[in-house]
């Protein structure tokens, strides 16, 4: 019965009762979670409806704790559901469990989780990427059909790429952020991890749309996102971002080149595009994101919720001791950097300049998206790296997001789709970016690429179908 988990959920739904499907997922989670550490909590009684969804542990839910991968919120249970979760429930889905993540979504490997890293099902000595690593692992290993993640600089697309699944970052404002624990409010967006492009489109149809609880959520009507799937790529104009191409090496370069050849064979027009500011994207991102984080994370002070230290006499000492005990090293480092960048005497030189650099990057991208329908890069500069490899070198870790962070800084939608495998049998991924609110066009071209390649059908060596068969 666990062969069901191999199929897209829409198809599995035709072949089994909802009860059978949910039971298969729960069994898969029980079997694989001890090894992969994808879930931080599991709801065994949640539901019998046909669509179990794994939800990243920074999206609040009333039935399970929302830890954000942090000791600070270890026992926090939200009194409300996030709007995206509410919409899933209304559509008949339920939350089967909450997924592992880098603490407060700060990381690209899942190693910054206070509860130990999730592991890559293609090779458990390697990272699954981050910060939505648990969500990517859960879908890649066929424990669940679909998952919610969140993005600030690539936190859905990068782990999706490293785990060989589809990752979507919608346009900024497309999905309500109400109930997404804030990291950098001008960049954050809830995204989805799925096996197929069509499933990503269907998930977005459920969660998208204006929400009075998030004034930055767009009034743009949520479209029928699957409508253009099947229309092909003939005549579609793709720009290949040269500032990304010049950084590519070895297998990633070869794989990217063959993706371009394939698109051309389908009748797409593929030409060079330029985003000169891409080379400054990570520097820009780390100032903007951390400045916002330093303000957003000020609320974790041990007073109204979360961990309170027993040390300290005065109110201020309680704040500091609680934060010292509750927050991990990477989170402290980023709060320190963000606080510095906003502090008197440094604001103009750091935050002010970064905002201007962001505006320039955005205008370069928007202008190239007038010449082209889509922009292309690999999703990541390299396949999954080993656990421990970059954890002592923050800059090397940050550069994992070099190709993904620009879409967040510009607010545009982007999708990561499997594009093949390295010689070590690790997934490689193509990133397609699109115009603001043009997700339907992204799904159209991504679905064509997927249908031509069928990479999604290949399962990792650690997977629920064979383990529980």
């Amino acid at each position: 019965m666990n062969d069901l988990l191999e199929l897209p959920w829409t198809k599995a739904r035709d072949e089994a009762s909802p009860e059978e499907y949910v039971r298969a997922c729960l069994q898969a989670v029980e079997h694989l979670n001890p090894e992969l550490n994808a879930f931080l909590s599991i709801d065994r009684e949640a539901g019998k409806s046909s669509l179990p969804v794994a939800v990243k542990d920074n999206i609040v839910t009333t039935r399970l704790a929302t830890t954000c991968g942090s000791r600070m919120l270890e026992s926090f249970v939200s009194p409300v559901d996030a709007t995206a979760v509410q919409r899933l429930r209304t559509a008949g889905a339920f939350v089967i469990g909450k997924t592992n993540m880098d603490e407060f979504a700060m990381g690209s490997s899942n190693e910054h989780s206070a509860f130990g890293p999730a592991r890559n099902p293609w090779d458990p000595t390697r990272v699954p990427g981050g910060s939505s690593g648990g969500s990517a692992v859960a879908v890649a290993a066929r424990m669940v059909p679909v998952a919610l993640g969140s993005e600030t600089g690539g936190s859905v697309r990068q782990p999706a790429a490293l785990c060989g699944v589809v990752g979507l970052k919608p346009t900024y404002g497309r999905v309500s952020r109400s109930g997404l624990v804030a990291f950098a409010s001008s960049l954050d967006q809830i995204g989805v991890v799925t096996k197929t492009v069509r499933e990503a489109a269907e998930m977005l149809e459920i969660i998208a749309g204006h929400d009075p609880l998030d004034s930055t959520s767009s009034m743009e009507p949520a479209a029928e996102f699957t409508r253009d799937i099947g229309a092909g790529v003939r005549g579609i104009r793709f720009g290949v971002v040269q500032e990304a191409v010049e950084q590519l090496e070895g297998e990633v370069a070869e794989n990217f080149a063959s993706a371009i050849t394939l698109l051309r064979s389908g009748g797409a027009i593929v030409e060079d595009a330029h985003i000169p500011s891409l080379r400054h994207a990570i520097a820009t991102y780390y100032i903007v994101a951390n400045a916002e984080a330093s303000a957003n994370l000020a609320r974790f002070d041990g007073i109204r919720f979360g961990r309170r230290s027993g040390e300290g006499g005065s109110l201020e000492e309680v704040y500091r001791a609680s934060r010292a005990e509750g927050l991990g090293e990477e989170v402290k480092r980023r709060i320190m950097l963000g606080t510095f960048a906003l502090s008197s005497g440094y604001y103009d030189a750091y935050y002010g300049r970064a905002q201007k650099a962001r505006a320039r990057l955005r205008s370069e991208i928007v202008s190239e998206l007038q010449r082209f329908d889509h922009l292309l890069t690999p999703t990541t500069p390299e396949p999954a790296f080993r656990i421990g490899e970059k954890v002592e070198d923050p800059i090397a870790m940050y550069l994992s997001d070099i190709f993904t962070a620009p879409a967040n800084l510009a607010g545009i939608p982007a999708i990561a789709i499997p594009s093949g495998f390295s010689r070590e049998a690790l997934p490689l991924s193509l990133q397609i970016m699109g115009r603001h609110f043009a997700e339907a066009a992204l799904f159209r071209v991504a679905a064509w690429f997927e249908a031509e390649t069928d990479w999604w059908k290949r399962m990792p060596p650690i997977n629920a179908v064979t383990v529980t068969r």
Partner: protein, 94 residues
């Protein structure tokens, strides 16, 4: 940009974080390394004045609605008594 122990201490105080001297030195080194990477932004020629890259955020209508119920708030409170969060004394007594 070089961050020394005193500067790291100044920033830590602003951020309501605390470190012992050893951790402070380590943080200063890490911040220096990251900021020297970020300093590439100092070389960019960028326009003077304010960046014009944001739209105003629309405000919702100011209509009254019920807040969270007290028991929902209490459930996550580290210390709670008679409908209030308990904190250390803020104003010094006699």
């Amino acid at each position: 940009m070089k961050i020394d122990r005193d500067e790291a201490r100044r920033v830590a105080a602003l951020a309501q974080l605390q470190f012992d001297d050893e951790a402070l030195d380590r943080m200063a080194l890490e911040m220096t390394a990251i900021l020297s990477y970020v300093d590439q932004l100092q070389e960019l020629e960028l326009p003077d004045g304010e960046e014009a890259d944001s739209l105003p955020t629309p405000l919702r209508a100011d209509t009254p609605h019920l807040p969270l119920d007290q028991p929902d708030v209490e459930r996550n409170a580290p210390a709670w008594r008679d409908g209030f969060f308990v904190v250390p004394r803020v104003i010094a007594g006699e």
